[in-house]
């Protein structure tokens, strides 16, 4: 499988992107892009606007200036929905559904990536044997892993990951990096926020620094 497609437009391109709340800028005009086959690391201190940026890119918040292109076209809802998958602070599991049922629902909404089954995805994130465990009775780390399995299963090539390392112990952090490496090498891309205290994945990585205010 090719690792990069240089003659295609970048998966995500932001031009002079800005967001303001009550006319107070949260993050300034930003220019950046994420191409297939690479990762973008968004770093910044508390309250510097990382989460906000991800939500703007996912289309949950409207930007106050600038524009975003997805796969070369202006970011309409459909284009975003097709190309991106968000791993936010809230994982979106139902406590009363089992791991497998949670994944089934996600696939019903988003469709399924080729060449991987639900049980394979669970195995890859280290949840083999947890198919029938209710999400409620999983530990914080296991819940995070279940959300990672969802990313593996849905067809979107661009992963928007907000603090994927939070709440995970050292083993879990290594797993995330491994996943990102594999995804990026297979032609996907990832946008990752972090406080900066963790090891980053071993892929072609660009850095975006957000400063306060």
């Amino acid at each position: 499988m090719p690792t990069m497609m240089l003659n295609t437009p970048p998966l995500l391109q932001a031009h002079q992107l800005a967001f303001a709340r009550n006319d107070e800028p949260v993050f300034g005009p930003l220019d950046f892009h994420v191409a297939a086959g690479e990762a973008l690391l968004v770093q910044g201190g508390n309250g510097s606007g990382k989460t906000t940026l991800l939500r703007v890119l996912a289309g949950l918040l409207g930007a106050s200036g600038g524009d975003v292109q997805v796969n070369g076209k202006p970011a309409e809802r459909e284009a975003i929905a097709e190309h991106t998958a968000l791993l936010g602070h809230l994982l979106g599991h139902k406590g009363e559904l089992s791991a497998d049922e949670n994944l089934r629902f996600a696939l019903g909404l988003y469709g399924q990536r080729e060449g991987i089954t639900r049980s394979e995805a669970l195995q890859q994130v280290g949840l083999a044997g947890f198919e029938d465990t209710f999400a409620r009775s999983m530990s914080a780390g296991q819940k995070k892993r279940l959300a990672l399995a969802r990313l593996l299963l849905v067809p979107a090539p661009l992963w928007l990951m907000d603090e994927p390392y939070a709440n995970l112990d050292l083993q879990g952090i290594a797993l995330v990096n491994q996943m990102i490496e594999k995804h990026v090498h297979a032609g996907g891309a990832a946008l990752i926020t972090s406080h900066g205290a963790y090891a980053t994945p071993a892929v072609r990585t660009r850095l975006l620094e957000l400063t306060h205010g």
Partner: protein, 227 residues
């Protein structure tokens, strides 16, 4: 890539929400319980005079149903919001209005339907004339989905707010008033031997309209409320 169609998405949602209701089946009957309790309070407060109760029976049942429906509204999107799956719905490549329609359907099935089934019991408790059962049930059958649909729009507007319970009531009740007037009015009319079909037809027409428009409005409202 097996991309999901709107149909599979709707089915997946219905499947999931019904499964959740089943797993928390204790909660599902609580709106009906609330209606029972409200209806129980009235004879207690008014003293048990059969004629008086019979006169106000249909009105009390309708008010109880409206209040119970309103109170259970709050739960329509709350748990989805709290655990982040509402975001996942918003981000999916499916028409949001359709997904909301699915959620309202499950809400009606699990909150209004039990109340409907319990109507004969309520009617007996309040000594309602048994000739009026038919009209009462018909009016509830047309009115409760309408309440659910209108309610969905209102909840969608308040979805991101803390402590929205009371605000919700405040916003929803004025919109519920016309439904109540036509719904309870039809039974009242029937009890006095007046024609009641007109009121029911109005309810039916409103329901048809709401079935189409309410999910669209709720979808728009939810996007506004969450951004």
């Amino acid at each position: 890539m097996a991309s999901a169609t709107a149909r599979t998405a709707l089915l997946a949602l219905l499947r999931r929400d019904l499964l959740l209701v089943w797993r928390r089946r204790g909660d599902a009957l609580q709106p009906a319980m609330f209606a029972v309790l409200t209806i129980t309070l009235f004879p207690l407060a008014l003293g048990s005079e059969p004629q008086l109760l019979a006169r106000i029976a249909s009105g009390v049942i309708w008010v109880a149903v409206v209040l119970a429906g309103m109170l259970s509204l709050d739960a329509l999107f709350r748990s989805d919001l709290e655990d982040g799956s509402l975001e996942q719905l918003l981000l999916s490549p499916q028409p949001l209005a359709l997904l909301i329609f699915g959620k309202v359907l499950v809400h009606w099935l699990t909150t209004a339907l039990p109340v409907l089934v319990a109507t004969p019991l309520f009617a007996a408790m309040l000594q309602l004339d048994s000739n009026l059962y038919g009209v009462l049930v018909l009016s509830l059958l047309l009115g409760t989905p309408l309440l659910s649909l209108i309610g969905a729009v209102v909840v969608a507007l308040t979805v991101g707010m803390k402590r929205s319970g009371m605000l919700l009531a405040l916003l929803a009740l004025p919109l519920y008033v016309p439904v109540l007037i036509f719904g309870a009015g039809s039974v009242m009319a029937a009890s006095q031997g007046l024609p009641y079909l007109g009121a029911l037809l109005v309810l039916g027409a409103a329901l048809a309209l709401a079935l189409v428009l309410a999910p669209l409005a709720a979808a728009a409202a939810i996007r506004i409320a969450l951004s």
